[in-house]
């Protein structure tokens, strides 16, 4: 396994990029630590797949360097980089058996057949497919095929990193749970360096130790799931992570108070905001619905089973609040913002709050 350094990498699909907007990847500079589980999260077109393909060597970056364990591998081919990749749609050699699929990368590298057999059997156990070893791969279900794709990476002992490109897209919800937790267990047991590309926040957050949120060719925040939830650095992160996303209200600051229309909201500290458009961000989970606070008109209650999402109108802005499964909306509903969940943004970037 390897540490991966992405050194000031820029990439454009155009032959002669001039403007910043010509770049699919504006500038990425980041280190993926050895043995870490990372997710690259963002909407389509944010550059996450471009970055993944640069790491795997399927794309050559326009600028910058890529290092594996300190060694410059920018100009090495995919084969020479020794990585494994699982794609969105299962890639299997469907004329081969499950066993031969797993043996394929080893046989290509002329590993002695005795070692091949040992490694393949180990891997079959790891991915829970030992019972299907002799079956032709083409008749299997989508989740089994994805496990074979993964297995072809796991079978090689010298793999530098395992890359995932939205691997659960074609998997049914129930199997997603099973595969995700198996993947996480594999990571815990064998400490592979893993990079996982997805647009699905649940997959990203549950899989990764650290999530890299990308938007418009740039990294907007790198953090643990808790950091991304509690302290989104940018309003985009607030919106993109969380379901529903963070409520963002335009406010004016006055010391420890934020003024939203005629309303005054107490802040946990004094924001260090310079000039610029100031906004207050609060996640629906921190909006308390009750009989005290600011009056709202409830427009809709969505019962999602384990909790309810209340859509309400606060001074002309729609806000969302999350209430418990058995909670009811009071007759004259009012909301309060839990100070612990308040973040202040100037020009969309989060500002610190002093005492």
């Amino acid at each position: 396994m390897a540490r991966i350094d992405v050194n000031h990498i820029r990439h454009s699909y155009l032959p002669n990029p001039r403007k910043d907007s010509d770049f699919a990847l504006k500038e990425v500079h980041h280190t993926f630590e050895d043995g870490g589980a990372y997710a690259l999260l963002g909407p389509s077109g944010c550059g996450k797949t471009t970055l993944l393909n640069i790491i795997s060597g399927l794309l050559h970056p326009s600028h910058g360097q890529l290092l594996f364990n300190g060694r410059d591998i920018t100009n090495l081919s995919t084969q020479e980089r020794n990585i494994a990749q699982v794609f969105q749609f299962p890639v299997i050699y469907d004329t081969m058996t499950v066993y031969d699929n797993l043996a394929f990368p080893l046989r290509n590298r002329r590993v002695p057949e005795a070692d091949v057999d040992r490694k393949v059997r180990e891997t079959l156990d790891m991915i829970d497919l030992a019972g299907l070893a002799k079956k032709k791969a083409r008749g299997l279900t989508a989740d089994q095929k994805q496990k074979i794709s993964l297995g072809r990476g796991l079978v090689r002992s010298d793999v530098n990193a395992i890359l995932f490109d939205e691997p659960l897209t074609v998997i049914d919800p129930h199997m997603k749970w099973v595969l995700r937790s198996q993947l996480k267990q594999l990571h815990r047991r064998f400490a592979y360096t893993m990079v996982y590309v997805t647009h699905d926040q649940t997959e990203a957050l549950t899989f990764a130790d650290r999530v890299v949120v990308m938007y418009d060719g740039e990294i907007v925040q790198i953090g643990t799931p808790a950091e991304l939830f509690e302290r989104p650095r940018h309003t985009f992160v607030g919106y993109f992570i969380g379901s529903p996303g963070m409520n963002v209200l335009p406010v004016a600051l006055e010391g420890r108070t934020a003024k939203f229309g005629a309303l005054r909201i107490e802040l946990p500290g004094v924001p260090k905001a310079e000039a610029g458009a100031v906004e207050l961000g609060i996640r629906p989970e921190y909006v308390r619905l009750g009989r005290e606070g600011m009056a709202v008109q409830v427009s809709k209650v969505e019962d999602v089973g384990r909790h309810k999402v209340v859509r309400a109108n606060l001074e002309g802005r729609e806000i969302a609040a999350v209430i418990g499964e058995d909670d009811e909306v009071p007759a004259e509903p009012k909301v309060r913002f839990d100070p612990a969940g308040i973040n202040i943004y100037a020009d969309s970037w989060r500002v610190e709050m002093g005492a």
């Binding site: 049914d172 647009h199 549950t206 799931p225 993109f240 969505e302 999602v304 089973g305 384990r306």
Partner: protein, 359 residues
């Protein structure tokens, strides 16, 4: 009103749809919920008239339309793939069903603009679909389906190819759009979460059978059998097979789970108990909750919640808890089962409920 009466569809030796009877009212939203290959698409094709049933009949507003081809049924369909006319503008795409119907220009313009406004497409009317994002392309397809003023609109996993966030936005808007249109909507999805957000009615499908049909929340909270409960649970339903003795279910380690009051009359036998992941908790939720000790296999953290995967006896459970719980693998934790929230199924997988006992 669309009625399917004992509809069966077999292709070769395979039964794709098994004895399905459903009645869908005008102005209703009906979700078909089930995993891949459970028969959602096959059922929609029968409803549309793209296929004729092997046996059984299809009725529309009291008329037998079995075997009537799709062209004669005034049906609109939206697929998982974004299907539009690539060479036409968004405006012409939306207008196309009206042009085919020979509607006059003034009304076409009015209806196209209404639909575009409803689906937030007004700024893009002059563009061609390929210059739009996936979300906007699918909005165009939806607008075309709505403007057609069809008596039946079928949507086959329309959001599956969209990004998570776009899906969320469109999902929140769809019920409003459906309510405004007033026709029969049928919406296929694999995701329980989506069914809950859409509301309306839900039919759960499993291996070509409709296992339950009713208001979405009722199907979710009061499934009639284990298959339905499993189909309609994300994260997966926690289950365990227990034997009942007297007033308790016996759990491993001598723990007794009291039989809910209203079910006290059931016979002593083996039952399957099911409960949702958020009904398993670290703190005692009330006095009747029962503690069990389970082993952690893996913990997944979403930032605000944690999914703790647990092994209890030979059962695999998931606990959904608020906050961040960073248990290590193989930690043994004490978790509480709330008997108020358990579902009881007999050996045939049928739900055991108070109303059934009374009958």
């Amino acid at each position: 009103m669309l009625e399917l009466r004992n509809v069966t569809k077999t292709i070769g030796a395979q039964e794709h749809i098994r004895d399905v009877s459903l009645t869908l009212q005008h102005g209703s939203l009906n979700v078909l919920l089930g995993p891949t290959l459970s028969g959602k698409t096959s059922l929609m094709r029968l409803m549309a008239g793209l296929d004729a049933p092997t046996s059984g009949s299809v009725w529309f507003d009291g008329k037998d339309v079995t075997g009537q081809p799709v062209q004669k049924r005034n049906v609109a369909m939206v697929y998982q793939q974004f299907i539009n006319y690539p060479a036409m503008t968004v405006y012409e795409n939306i207008a196309s069903p009206l042009r085919v119907a020979g509607v006059d220009q003034a009304r076409i313009d009015k209806e196209v603009r209404n639909a575009a406004a409803l689906l937030k497409l007004t700024p893009y009317l002059d563009r061609t679909p390929l210059n739009l994002s996936g979300g906007q392309q699918q909005r165009t397809a939806l607008a075309r389906a709505i403007v057609k003023n069809a008596s039946l609109v079928l949507l086959d996993e329309p959001l599956a190819n969209l990004d998570y966030k776009l899906r969320e936005e469109l999902r929140a808007e769809l019920p409003k759009i459906f309510a405004a249109a007033g026709t029969i909507f049928v919406y296929a999805t694999t995701e329980p979460h989506e069914a809950l957000l859409l509301g309306g009615n839900t039919a759960t499908l499993s291996e070509g059978r409709v296992t339950q049909f009713g208001p979405t929340v009722d199907v979710f909270r009061k499934p009639v059998d284990l298959v339905t409960a499993r189909t309609f649970a994300d994260p997966p339903l926690n289950t365990i097979v227990l034997s009942k003795k007297g007033s308790d279910f016996l759990l491993e380690g001598g723990v007794k789970l009291p039989v809910p009051q209203e079910l006290s009359g059931i016979a002593d036998a083996s039952y399957t108990i099911g409960f949702q992941p958020h009904h398993l908790s670290l703190e005692r939720p009330n006095a009747s909750a029962v503690p069990v000790r389970a082993k952690v296999t893996i913990t997944e953290i979403t930032g605000s919640e944690s999914f703790v995967h647990l092994d209890f006896a030979d059962a695999r459970w998931v606990m959904l808890a608020h906050g961040i719980l960073d248990f290590e693998t193989d930690d043994v934790v004490e978790v509480f089962i709330d008997p108020r929230h358990i579902m009881v199924f007999d050996q045939n997988g049928r739900a055991v409920t108070a109303s059934k006992l009374a009958a």
